[in-house]
Amino acid sequence: MAKKFSVLAKETLAPGINRIVVSAPLIAEKAQPGQFVILRVNERGERFPLTLVDWNPNEGTIVLIFQEVGVSTRKLGKLEVGDYIEDIVGPLGNPTDVEKYGEVAVIGGGVGTALIYPWVRALKEAGNRIVTILGARNVGLLLLEDKLRSISDELYISTDDGTKGVKGFTSDVLKSLLEQGRKFDLVMAAGPVPMMRAVAEVTRPYKIKTVVSLNPIMVDGTGMCGGCRVTVGGETKFACVDGPEFDAHQVDFRELMNRLRTYSEEETLARSTVS
């Protein structure tokens, strides 16, 4: 078993958003859609989660996509081909329930788009008809459009500033589809918390089963600490072992948002340590 995890390829998808291919044979062999890994970039690094976007068991590789927002993603962004990541553990979390549902809307916002790629692929393979909705702040930040188009039955785009597709949010696109009388058997969404909450509110009156992948702060990722706890249907759950996917209509998004802000000051300070 290789002790360290080397970066085999690196590509910039959009400003500040990178895609890397990493050697991690054991993880590649076991990975399933919806699962994630916990990384520690170097000796002084923190542990943080990233979703498994893709994997190749034959080559022993995994694909990660991340936006450089804080100290750790900036450090990760600085790694070049041939560099090593100190620690990666996974695959963690429960796999997505992949079944034949029928017509499925899959929604990705911002870097969350990377997360929906394994969903779309697996749901398509299971015989579902896929309507993909992508969103970003502007056209330059749209991710994986071509890849997702090639495996979706329909694809819609929204940008906050209207530089491509519908001006507005992914939830607006979903809403107008529903208002036109489109029916979905399942909606899945990944992205910033306000976006996931908006999607949940759009589908709630239609009683469409809606699944979101939650992104709370995590430390160990194995159920040891409860740092990632969320309230779902009035009960406390640990996202790392009970999730990360939950019924969107049961999630306390406000609490999740509050908890995500725990370290905002510290994060700003830490970010400044990486130029």
Binding site: M1, E46, E86, L92, D220, M224, G226, R261, L269
Partner: protein, 453 residues
């Protein structure tokens, strides 16, 4: 034993107990009566020949003293520091009947710290048996099993889920009680015996028990501990600023958040810190929070005499300025508009009849609610077993409490070739009891492997 002065130690994470000098150690060793029937040995869960190693200290033969200890215990620098000796070896010392018992823990620590680390430590004349053993978890139980089996000639690989070995020694017990350098040295000793350590591998999630047997391991030992946090289950417990002790201590110890931003992991400690609980984990959390600048109050539902924490550490905590509220427990947490904790509402308790543990059961007193201000709360009311390695394995029996069913003398589980010991079998207990269980399991594994031939 000399200690770091209070004003100095509350500003840093340096070790508080400073250890004996040579003269002090020899003087303490000279107090030992060298009993013919030593009761101290009965009190030691792994049965170290205490009078014999103390005799070597008197003679200045520190390496021989260490060898004598290592016949029974592979982690003396750790046990000398964290064992509750007052209830074990020292609790039985005859000198304790009329005065102070011999400071056996202090002497064990002196010997281990005095070791010439450069000295070749790998035992000679070990005949390889050709048998392979997988050890799941690198805490005190796993390290002990691995060391014992390696000394018997078996090929041992430890699988650890976290990025660093040591289990609770690494992520739980703070630097000021157990320096991580010491843990690393003890792990290096175990490695020097030929043990391999694979970090970042979660057995039960990424590798199943059957996979291990398929990979050619002849036996598996599970020492996955009791590392899952317990919460109170009262309203408001998910407010921002409320930590499980596990999360708080993992951030501080394993991730070195006390050195943020030199290290990347942050931690947040407000002005008023409330720690809930009365065990060693509560003391460690409280003293860590104090060092991070908080004004710390421990809330415990029984009285001081029932606190499960080591007496010495309660004394240290009091010296450092930690306050205590006894006979009280939280009923809810109250937050502000941003979802941050601001107050803890508690209810007063009285003690009723003794419960199964022999301790008097705390009973809430009606209409006795009161509130304490809090910016940070650390919940340290115990840990649950971590049965992840056997999740979904119907061949290994797990109790409704999550502990693995294993023979306490041998560690045997219902699945042939799979053994377990430590907190995963007993529920959360002490470092030395995990090592004692590990030691017995290692002997049973050895017998099992050799009978298979």
């Amino acid at each position: 034993m000399p200690k770091l002065p209070v004003d100095k130690r509350i500003k840093c994470f340096s070790e508080v107990a400073l250890g004996y000098t040579e003269d002090q150690a020899v003087a303490e060793a000279n107090r030992c009566l060298q009993c013919k029937i030593p009761r101290c040995v009965e009190g030691c869960p792994v049965g170290i020949d205490i009078p014999a190693f103390i005799k070597y200290i008197r003679q200045g033969e520190y390496n021989k003293a260490l060898e004598k200890i290592r016949e029974k215990n592979s982690l003396p620098a750790i046990c000398g520091r964290v064992c509750p000796q007052e209830n074990q070896c020292m609790g039985k010392c005859v000198l304790g009947l009329k005065g102070d018992p011999v400071n056996i823990g202090g002497l064990e620590r002196f010997v281990a710290d005095h070791e010439d680390k450069a000295r070749k430590r790998k035992p000679e004349n070990v005949q390889p048996t050709g048998k392979k053993v997988a050890v799941v978890g690198s805490g005190p139980a796993g390290l002990t099993v691995a060391a014992e089996l390696a000394k018997m000639g078996h090929e041992v690989t430890i699988f650890e889920a976290l990025h660093a070995p040591g289990g609770v020694l690494m992520y739980g017990i703070p630097e000021f009680r157990l320096p991580k350098k010491i843990v690393n040295e003890e792990v290096e000793y175990v490695k020097s015996l030929g043990v391999k350590v694979e970090t970042n591998v979660i057995v039960g999630k990424v590798i199943k028990l059957d996979d291990l047997f398929e990979q050619g391991f002849d036996a598996v030992f599970i020492g996955s501990g009791a590392g899952l946090p317990r919460f109170l289950g009262v309203p408001g417990e998910n407010l921002v600023g409320i930590y499980s002790a596990n999360e708080f201590l993992i951030r501080v110890n394993l991730m070195k958040a006390y050195r943020f931003p030199e290290y990347d992991t942050p931690i947040k400690v407000g002005e008023k810190v409330i720690v809930i609980g009365g065990g060693n984990v509560a003391m460690d959390s409280a003293r860590s929070a104090l060092r991070l600048g908080g004004d710390v109050t421990v809330v415990y539902r029984r009285t001081e005499e029932y606190m499960p924490a080591r007496r010495d550490e309660v004394i240290n905590a009091k010296e450092e300025g930690i306050k205590f509220v006894f006979l009280a427990t939280p009923v809810r947490f109250i937050g502000d508009e941003k979802g941050w904790v601001k107050e803890v509402e508690c209810v007063k308790m009285k003690l009723g009849e003794p419960d199964a543990s022999g301790r008097r059961r705390p009973i809430p007193i009606e209409n006795s609610e009161f509130t304490l201000k809090a910016d940070t709360v650390i919940v340290a009311i115990g840990q649950k077993p971590n049965p992840l390695p056997v999740r979904g394995e119907d061949k290994v029996k797990v109790t409704s409490h999550g502990t693995i069913v294993a023979n306490p003398e041998t560690g045997e589980t219902d699945m042939p070739g799979v053994f377990a010991a430590g907190d995963i079998v007993t529920g959360n207990a002490t470092v030395i009891s995990a090592m004692g269980g590990g030691k017995r399991a290692a002997q049973a594994i050895h017998r099992y492997l050799m009978s298979k031939a």
